[in-house]
Symmetry: C2
Subunit: 675 residues, 2 copies
């Protein structure tokens, strides 16, 4: 087929399919007057080679567990993915592409997990997809090592990821890539769209590194640069990467952004602007594309929908193999299926029940977390996780399990290194892969480092458990550089997230129960470095309501004290003194705003009666937001500055988190309110 | 001098000085029962070589502008720095080392800018210091190119940074290092403490990359690994790195963590635990150190305080050269001195005054920001900054200035690449270097990517201006992956930060005025993608009070409506309709909580009378926190979910940010309050 732009020779059908992808992107952006056609135009041949010739997937069942995973880390190229999903027969009709970026469509501006059939993971914020892909490749190996048996390769798939220059500039991708090389993740194949252009112009104004050499240094197999317009070369490179053992692979593709656009190809102007009628006409001509917008020639549809039959066969074959596996290994098969369904095994709640006895003494909630985690992990095989190099401090190691290493990919303790952001993105990938229950651990101060990953989990509903220890100025000597102040409130401000800051060892165990039970979104668990006295274990189950009274009075209270975490103990002490002085006092432990706010109005009104306005909140974090519960007439004892380097107890005293100060402020408040 | 541990031969005096550093760290950690002695023990010989033989500094004047900068990115090794500062004669007496990590001391757990004389920048959260050092090296070159003249090398210094394995695992360091190579920052010399140990054990459980090759790939000069116990080798490597032209340098030091401790050297146990009495005794013996805790032999003091006289001479010589420069180039010298003092040149306010006329029409506040920035930049030469690859969208380019590039290091527009976190850390480094006024730009969604850097600026009071455009669901089609929801409130929750979200072009200009005038801390400026109608220009100066009435009534209002940014316009419209219907209404534009909260109580009470409880807040962000101004009886129209991919106007309507909905909710509230 003659085209006016120069490309490596290919069959007419291949060329037609490739141009179909390109023109769907062009026409959808044009119709929406918004979006990014340039990257899909440049990537179409490589993506076509991958999807048409290599990718194992079943368009009729996007949830087939043993499918290859495809991650479009360069999420702004969403139309590349939407076009491929449409053309290969997923439930994504043309009219959805025509509603690109419109309210309620299945084709949002960037790919969103749960919105579009076949979209594996939400991408767009650059670098995240690379981390997600690393996580998926970890998950595949853990499950393969756990469940495969001789002659039964029931878990056996690859993870493909397309990334851009921008992805590779992001630190989160660097972190994940370094770890992937260390862990020898040979199921991971990363295709790098090297087009020399970013939004601000030529990449070399800000990016002159030798990417191939960088990935060599990370212990990756590196191929290329190869011509991204040559699907045969791409196919060859991918197949070579698949047989590489022991290393993840990077395939560098030299591409032209906006390929086919006579005036804008290879320029930054095409990155994120529609081409306009005239240039679209020229592009059609240059590509030899004689079809109207959204018209796909039959031969393209016929050919690309071959994926449906190939997928059906592969999936059927796998079903047959699964049946054979089930016959030989019924227990393993049952466990695998339960894991893949995201169900927890019987007995997990009993395991946590049992942990209360172990945790019934004064201890840091981080220590209680280690007890809860290990109690759960004894039953919940799918638990997988670790720390960003603070495993001892975080109490995040599952005892009796090995470390996931290049040499032992069965391990489910993961040493993420000092890479919080990568850890977050990898945990998201493990989660969205399916079959595992990921958790992470670090100091709470570093929640900020991984916040973009937490946000994507919250947006997309990945049930990841993020644990953070050393949760306030109470951590002491490390000082304000390491003392979170804004973190709790910043996490509460994020929709889709449940944040829990337990007050004692028992609440800690119950916090883990809530987190493990939550299957439709992420949970943040926040723990102290310092010791907390145990509250009444029989009350702790009320943590699930988010807030409950730990001290109460007859009838309507004169004053309500609310606290979380390590501040519950001094607040309770102040409450008791007020009660001893004859005051009608209620003290509330409020480990989770989100859980409390989702209770029925009656419960909330009963616990926090509208008529009682003399309220005081106590939390060693930013006070912004506590007016939600104490209003304009209450008081908030909180941090309105950063902390200090001093022993934790000294900090708590200097910043006012003592029973005496809480008592004093309570009395003042009672006086002000005329009581 | 005989020691029982094996080290490369050195003079007795050198060995004594090195051991003094080691033992100050050991004894201070022991006294505090907290801290990290292991890294200082391993790094002492290299740091001694740098500080005793190379570093140009003046202990009597830590603010000497042309001093070399020293950044301890591995901030947990703070005692290395404190020991060096004490021994070389800074105003840091021994008793401060004895109060290590205690309330009110000058020796916090991690180095803090502004607390300890000679500490250049706050470090501890890993990776940040590497980015800060890159920023300092950028600043040095910009100032050198701007102010030096033939025969007058008035700006001419180096930036040395010591980093750990953990620093190099962090993505922020990767981002900064890649950019440093691209920009050819030859004044930057990074010493990498490769000790093979992290907190969780051997580094190779999570970190097997070839660091040397990675930095080669970034276009760095790489030397080593060399023996970190050999100060001569370290000195030679540093001096070789200084003559490298056109590249930043990495010197890899093979060191032993906890060197000298017979039982713990080379193990992770020494990373962050005191040694204990017995092991301290053994360490003294192994190092041949026969002095009591905190006793420094005279010959060590005599030798190391040589830095005072060397510093005095170097500084005096520079003063002489500055005088000669001032004689030949009086205008340049005056401008340099003003820049170094952090003062803005005359006329900068008039320039902003003039911008109002240009901005007096409906436009996005991001466009108005570009107008304000350029008006200021015409006068304020020290403005230096740019975008993380979104310069066009952010309107962040200073017209008529060149791009800082390897080939033209006079440029003060910086193309950071897609590296938000690196950008933040680099901007902090530029700021704390002195002489420049840095700003950054990206989409607001990516504030999360750079949040740890913003936090350190807020903690340490660096006057960086962080601008963020595309500030809400109003950005439209890019969808929820790119629409900030929690970001505004999360930034407001951070102490030390001033956050300003202007409502219109005029407020935008005034927001820049506040940001530029603020010299003791960072400012976040938040701008829309979409157009906003201009308010009354004559009111805009009230932005400095944080909140003011844009519509008012006679006497006490029945209802108060509060909004920020793009929500002010529909709120004002709703307010006008209420007024037309006979209601007594006040509408408040509240661009900055921090500025408002710092007003006198009288102003706040006048604007928001305690007696008026019928209040409604409108902001297209997380609603948590708005109860601070509307209390338990008010209403908040905000985002309690993520956004959607649709045109911005559609989003605003669907999520309730229309005049009609605000009007309707206001009426409901008035009814509920019985008015």
């Amino acid at each position: 087929m003659a085209t006016r732009v120069s490309e490596p020779a290919k069959t007419e059908l291949d060329q037609l399919c490739i141009n179909a992808i390109r023109m769907l992107a062009v026409d959808a952006v044009e119709l929406a007057s918004s979006g990014h056609a340039g990257a899909p135009m440049g990537l179409a041949p490589a993506a076509y080679a991958l999807w048409d010739r290599v990718l194992q997937h079943d368009p009729a069942d996007p949830a087939w567990p043993d499918r290859d995973r495809f991650v479009l880390s360069a999420g702004h190229a969403s139309l590349l993915l939407y076009s491929l999903l449409h053309l290969t027969g997923y439930d994504l009709p043309l009219d959805e592409l025509q509603r690109f970026r419109q309210w309620g469509s299945k084709t949002p501006g960037h790919p969103e997990y749960g919105v579009t059939p076949g979209v594996e993971v939400t991408t767009g914020p650059l670098g995240q997809g690379v981390g997600n892909a690393v996580g998926m490749a970890v998950a595949e190996r853990i499950l393969a090592n756990r469940y495969n048996r001789p002659g039964h390769e029931i878990v056996n798939h690859f993870v493909y990821c397309i990334c851009s220059d921008g992805d590779l500039q992001e630190g989160v991708a660097s972190e994940a890539a370094s770890l992937a090389g260390t862990l020898g993740l040979n199921r991971l194949i990363l295709l790098y769209d090297s087009n020399g252009i970013t939004i601000d112009g030529r990449t070399d104004i800000s990016f002159r590194e030798n990417v191939a050499n960088r990935f060599h240094a990370y212990n990756w197999h590196v191929d290329g640069p190869i011509d991204g317009n040559d699907p045969d070369a791409v196919e060859t490179a991918i197949k070579a990467a698949r047989v590489e053992t022991g290393q993840p692979s990077l395939i560098i593709l030299n591409t032209t952004i906006g390929f086919g656009s006579p005036n804008h190809a290879g320029t930054s102007s095409i990155h994120s602007d529609p081409l306009g009628d005239e240039e679209v006409r020229r592009t059609r001509k240059a590509l030899g594309w004689n079809f109207d917008p959204f018209v796909i020639p039959d031969e393209v549809n016929d050919h690309m929908r071959g994926a449906i039959e190939r997928g059906r066969q592969a999936h059927t074959h796998w079903n047959t193999r699964l049946a054979a596996y089930r016959a030989d290994y019924p227990d393993e098969a049952a466990a695998l299926e339960k894991d893949l369904a995201g169900e927890l095994p019987d007995g997990w709640e009993a395991a946590l029940d049992g942990a209360h006895a172990t945790a019934d003494s004064a201890m840091a909630t981080r220590v209680a977390s280690g007890i809860a985690l290990n109690a759960a992990a004894d039953v919940v095989q799918s638990l997988t996780g670790g720390s960003a190099d603070l495993a001892g401090s975080n109490n995040s190691t599952m005892k009796g399990r090995s470390l996931f290493q290049s040499e032992d990919q069965a391990g489910s303790n993961i040493a993420f290194g000092v890479r919080e952001h990568g850890m977050g993105a990898i945990a998201n990938g493990i989660s969205v892969h399916g079959g595992l229950t990921p958790y992470t651990a670090t100091f709470m101060i570093f929640a900020d480092y991984m916040r973009p990953a937490i946000r994507l989990a919250a947006l997309s509903g990945y049930p990841v458990i993020y644990t953070f220890t050393h949760d306030s100025i109470g951590l002491g000597e490390d000082g304000p550089t390491h003392q979170p102040v804004a973190h709790l409130m910043s996490l509460r401000a994020m929709p889709g997230l449940v944040v829990i800051r337990p007050a004692d060892p028992h609440e800690t165990i119950e916090a883990w129960r809530v987190a493990l039970a939550r299957r439709d979104g992420p949970t943040v668990l926040v723990f102290t470095r310092q010791s907390t006295p145990p509250l009444d274990a029989s009350d702790a189950r009320q943590l699930a309501q988010g807030a409950y009274a730990v001290l109460d009075c007859e009838g309507e209270p004169e004053i309500i004290l609310i606290a979380t975490g390590s501040e519950v103990a001094p607040t309770l002490e102040a409450g008791r003194k007020l009660a001893e002085a004859g005051r009608k006092v209620r003290v509330i432990s409020m480990p989770s705003w989100e859980l409390f706010d989702s209770q029925p109005p009656e419960y909330r009104e009963e616990l926090l009666p509208s008529a009682v306005r003399t309220r005081i909140a106590v939390e060693a974090g930013s006070g912004i937001g506590w007016e939600r519960y104490v209003g304009l007439d209450g008081d908030v004892i909180a941090m309105d500055s950063f902390g200090a380097s001093a022993p934790g107890g000294v900090n708590m005293e200097k910043f006012g988190f003592t029973a005496d100060n809480i008592l004093s402020r309570s009395k003042t408040l009672l006086e002000q309110s005329g009581q």
